[in-house]
Subunit: 245 residues, 2 copies
DNA sequence: ACAAGCCGTTTCGCTATGTGGAACAGCCTG
DNA sequence: CAGGCTGTTCCACATAGCGAAACGGCTTGT
């Protein structure tokens, strides 16, 4: 285990996660490392072009080169490539925002989306994560797992307490989702929206991804909701089995 | 300079650039490092979750965690955030594909785009680069620089020889672009398209970005082209000065 | 069938390399 | 003007990364 590399990636991660440039002191504290150590790491990253320093405030931030690194990966990601056209088609048919997510640990990772052109409210950005039970997509995935109990419990613990999820209730919801073939959630990660989602099976049959359709709660009802669900389930059937991650 | 970190990033970069999983031997050769060295670096990256290994072929590839790293950066990028709505508006008005690029070294980096829904042909993906003179966006930027000669020469050298760019001709083109207030290019990075672009000034007045509109050569002519140019120039004026990078 | 070669992996002694404490200089605050 | 913040530099020490070499599995070619 190259500890220097591990420390370096921790620094890069901290900078990437931060919304704004960070002070050296803040980094050292956050990472529990030595001041001179972090400073030297930052300098090597600057030499390599991954980090820049605001000349005025001498604060550090991750550069676009760090973004390029990841952009190359997603462009060749087979799951995203194969599902993207289906996302586009779903978006056009339903006129709602559609998303592709994958499970990572006890969270779902937003991989791709086709947004309604004039989306008024905040939507989860690609590359962000959310606790599985906090999203319809995550629930669709959990509902297809043989014994989700432990994962559900951990996931609930990761949700904000205000959500007020309780294990027994969530397990019931998952049971319903399993029967219905889709999950539906209001008041989760996007509180204003009703999101419906269905899991996509991987090679072994275990859920490897999920597609979801999100819209304002008022609109996602009645005939329109029925239509959205038709499109969702039909698309999932059309996609069939996907390659994981 | 932490050499271990530098080597590690070189490994990650190589994996990210590669379209498919790489063998250990390929990496060592490509990077000119020791086999055991690369192997240890890969193992630490696997422990950290940035790299995965195909269990069957034992080939290595960068994981989605590497993508997440960069995704966080672009989501907070102020240039992209401020220009994105204008891109969307331009796309709707012109029904063509519009792009935002920034200059990096002697290349342009594609930062964002709003694509025509049914784009038939290959388009440059976000996060990729192209030599400046090989794109209309790059030429728009160069045309606003006081003395672009050296950069142009280097950039021509980076283009495929088939493009047949010659220094004097390109400089003339830039001069015309400077007078017109926009650059136009056919047969560049997207050979089938005509792309028109205009530079966006940064705080100092120096060009810090460029917005471009791309469409099939047949369509980008006559009245439609005139309309596209109107939208392009009006949007650039509306955006005004941008914060760099 | 055998051998030759390439693959990824592991080991281990050496020393180059990263480490962290302390000292330095610049800046704002009280 | 003094005190406490910064970010930065320095340096002796020992740790942590290095690379040559050996290992064992798998494919290739004869």
């Amino acid at each position: 285990m190259d500890t220097t590399v591990a420390k370096g990636m921790a620094v890069l991660e901290a900078l990437a996660r931060a919304k704004r440039p960070l002070r050296l002191a803040a980094l050292t504290e956050q990472l529990g490392l030595q001041k001179s150590n972090v400073h030297r790491l930052l300098n090597t990253f600057m030499e390599l072009g991954y980090v820049q320093q605001d000349p005025e405030t001498s604060r550090y931030f991750a550069s676009l080169k760090t973004w390029e690194l990841g952009a190359g990966i997603i462009s060749t990601n087979s799951l995203r490539r194969s599902v993207a056209p289906h996302l586009q088609a779903m978006q056009e048919k339903t006129r709602e925002t559609v998303m592709l997510t994958v499970p990572v640990d006890d969270e779902v990772l937003f991989l791709d989306r086709a947004a309604q052109v004039r989306a008024l409210r905040y939507l989860p950005l690609n590359g962000t994560r959310a606790p599985m039970v906090f999203t319809a997509a995550g629930r669709a995935i959990l509902s297809r797992r043989p014994d989700p109990r432990d994962a559900v419990a951990r996931s609930i613990a990761a949700c904000p307490p205000e959500a007020g999820f309780v294990l027994s209730q969530v397990l019931e919801d998952l049971e319903k989702a399993r029967r219905d073939g889709f999950a539906s959630l209001v008041g989760g990660f996007t509180p204003w929206a009703r999101v419906v989602a269905v899991a996509l099976p991987g090679p072994g049959g275990a859920p490897a991804a999920a597609i979801a359709i999100s819209g304002p709660e008022e609109r996602m009802a009645g005939d329109h909701l029925a239509e959205v669900l038709d499109v969702l389930l039909a698309t999932a059937a059309e996609i069939g089995e996907v390659s994981p991650a």
